[in-house]
Subunit: 467 residues, 2 copies
């Protein structure tokens, strides 16, 4: 059996891998399933997949290519574990839905927790969604439709309706007895909600607290009053920020009248944090979503759009150079050096931009410090601009033997790094204010600024000072 | 009182903010504290800060500029809540330590959970660490030093030693009675560990399960056997991956003999996930860590290094252009168009690179699919290269009226986008294999490839086909 790959530590060093396998899906199991798929042995595939955790099955499916994936789904189709569905990426999920068909998918949906079922419906097209809702039992479809009324990416969508709630006047003993006899409780919960008439949330008791209290004690006396809660319309990013900040494991969702609607648990928040981080990272890199499991044509189309936007930027930069063709004709060294000015500006600006986008996502920039961080980026631009202006100026002088060329490129670098710092910090702040996702659009604006300022300053100064 | 800023949803639209404030630190409170700091009223500062959650105080401190921050710390110094410390960024923490002095910091440390205290020691220099360990009571310093023996970024460092464990032969009733009478339990826990002789971990019982069982039932009969656990040397990224995949709330840490050492809770894992995501994002953007709260000189120095590395790349690209000076002198349009070829290659390569870095971080690329995703990126490069080759070729022809210029730039784009796709996917995979963090170094290699191939292909083809 092959061992897991060496663990790479965050500091870049490498240590011996742990001897214990953390996941059920070891490379050996994966290879065996692969072989069974290629040999066309559905019984063997089923046997190998059955002992795996649903999350591991989802992971396996996402790593197979499209044809093998369909063969594997076909093999486990009749005994498909619904719990696999919430773990699947959208692209893989579509394949699963296609192979399984509406009836089987509807049957699987009814076995999931309400939040997972609603989440699965979200990604579907209007038509598919209708077809599914019709195939689901009436009671289920009401819950699903209700869940879908909350805005996408809101607390209401993350919320699970299954909660354990007891009346304010109960004792610890009554609560424990209720839990021992009531069959229809969620499988796993960490807290009990205390509610008064009309399901109004009065307090929360952690199970560890309940367990440590004597039976005759009233729940009202041990509950945490004024519990942290969120309204259902809260953006999921805000909810994640609250979990992150206060180290929460779950939070109740409460409507405007203080009525308990459901609860959000930290495992869903971990997914939200991953999604939001992935979103920012990928958008800054010019891709709208992870396409590692998507088909070729679909991927090419998605990436094409971003490249087309960037092409427009590149033509703007080119037309700036075009303005100075006469100058370049006389001093060809300018064509050699101009990309250096633009590239340094682009890189310095990307540094500021990246810090700004992350700080905005983590709510580290607010009214009180916005101006200060902009001024700081400007100062950074001047400092590093002066340093690199000196370095590049000297190298350019040494390379081409023209002192004035060194002066021109030095000054151009100071100007461009100043522009880069200011633009890199200001553009995301402005976009955020305008309600546009700063991660997705900042890069294009920034490159336009650093290219135009870079080429214009360098070639303009050269025309003025050298010719 | 000012309301919270409008919530921006992840899809870029904007909705009414929720009426409920999710955080204790409202803009109004923040402004009041700011005013009190500026007016030099320590009593008022203390009064405003006291009702806040430690996480909110940490957030406030990180948003103040250095002078105000020190004034605020000075004001709350005598009644400083130790729980604030774990929430602070490294830069802010240093300020706090400086103002408070070794003795006060040592006193604060002893009141924290073992994992938080060890974490605080980690960022300190060797000298500061020694001084602190000497100021802490002997029993505490043993625990701290032991915690520090685990490698940084390992499960051992995240682990909390405070756990609730009961012997295998106990009943549910005995366990509940033990919890009711034992004073020294952790404040909050979701599971009970079942151990046999020598503290060997036999199983885990979720509190919700325990509560639902009758008193005479033996814990051995309701515990989950073969619980998921991690060895203390496991990289924190691996631990986070396990929590993420299986939706865990906590996990036991167990040594090679199966002995229970402690537990890792999901709130620490949320921090790890944030850190790792921030790490990848910032490194891809050319910054080593968030410097939003750092001083000017420190920030300038950190960013300088990355720009210097990029400068080397830029000079490599420039020297490729230098090789073709004679060609450019005859056809100046080449100087106008060359940056377009390089820039499109850089952007397309960054797309592949970003997808690769994220997929590696999420363990979505493995042995079974590595070759397939590389081939796919190559195919993407050819497809989008052909499309953009056609577009740019036609525009160049129209702009400069030279058909051959269009052919040359079209071919150069196909070649460069193919190189970009292959390099963007392969470079991170190779670096990961070599044990180098792909997020930090991939970008430089990629830009070198796309600049060199871009300029060389375009200017080389031009020299061959046009002159």
């Amino acid at each position: 059996m092959t061992g897991p790959a060496d663990a790479t530590f965050a500091d870049g060093t490498r240590r011996r891998p742990p001897e214990v396998a953390l996941y059920g899906l070891t490379p050996a199991v994966e290879q065996a399933i692969l072989d069974a798929v290629d040999a066309g042995r559905p019984n063997q595939i089923r046997g190998l997949i059955r002992p795996l955790h649903p999350a591991d099955v989802a992971d396996l499916l996402s790593r197979l290519d499209v044809n093998r994936r369909r063969a594997a789904i076909e093999a486990i189709r009749t005994r498909f574990d619904p719990e696999i569905l919430p773990y699947l990426d959208e692209a893989v999920r579509e394949d699963v839905f296609e192979v399984m068909g509406t009836r089987d998918v509807a049957a699987a949906l009814t076995e999931l927790d309400s939040d997972d079922a609603v989440d699965l419906m979200t990604d579907l097209g209007e038509e598919d969604r209708h077809r599914l809702l019709e195939a689901v039992p009436a009671a289920e479809s009401v819950v699903l439709e209700q869940g879908l009324t909350y805005p996408e990416y809101s607390a209401g969508r993350l919320m699970q309706r299954e909660v354990v709630a007891v009346p304010t006047h109960w004792t610890v003993g009554q609560t424990i007895d209720f839990m021992r006899t009531e069959a229809e409780l969620p499988e796993n919960f960490q807290e009990i909600y205390v509610v008064s008439a009309g399901n109004r949330l009065d307090g929360v008791i952690l199970l560890s607290r309940l367990l440590r209290s004597k039976r005759p004690v009233r729940v009202a006396d041990i509950m945490a009053t004024e519990p942290r809660s969120v309204p259902p319309a809260t953006d999921q990013e805000e909810v994640a920020q609250m979990f992150r900040r206060y180290g929460l494991v779950s939070t109740p969702v409460v409507d405007e009248n203080g009525r308990l609607l459901g609860r959000i648990t930290v495992d869903d928040i971990v997914d939200v944090i991953d999604e939001e981080a992935e979103d920012d990272l990928l958008k800054l890199g010019g891709v709208s979503e992870s396409d590692i499991a998507s088909g070729l044509v679909e991927t090419a189309r998605a990436r094409f759009v971003w490249l087309l936007v960037n092409l427009a930027t590149a033509f703007v930069a080119a037309s700036v150079i075009h303005m100075f063709e006469d100058t370049i004709e006389q001093v060809v060294a300018l064509a050699v050096l101009a990309p250096i000015v633009a590239s340094m500006g682009g890189n310095a600006g990307t540094q500021s931009l990246t810090v700004a986008v992350r700080a905005l996502a983590m709510r580290e920039i607010g009214r009180t410090n916005a101006l200060r961080v902009i001024v700081k980026e400007g100062a950074l631009g001047i400092i590093n601009g002066a340093l690199f202006g000196a370095i590049v100026g000297l190298v350019a002088y040494a390379w081409f033997g023209r002192p004035m060329l060194g002066v021109v490129i030095g000054l151009a670098l100071i100007l461009n790094l100043l522009a880069a710092g200011l633009a890199g910090m200001t553009i995301p702040l402005i976009l955020e204010r305008l309600g546009v996702d700063p991660a997705v659009a900042s890069g294009v604006f920034l490159t336009t600024v650093t290219d135009v300022v870079g080429f214009f300053a360098f070639l303009g100064l050269a025309t003025w000072l050298i010719l």
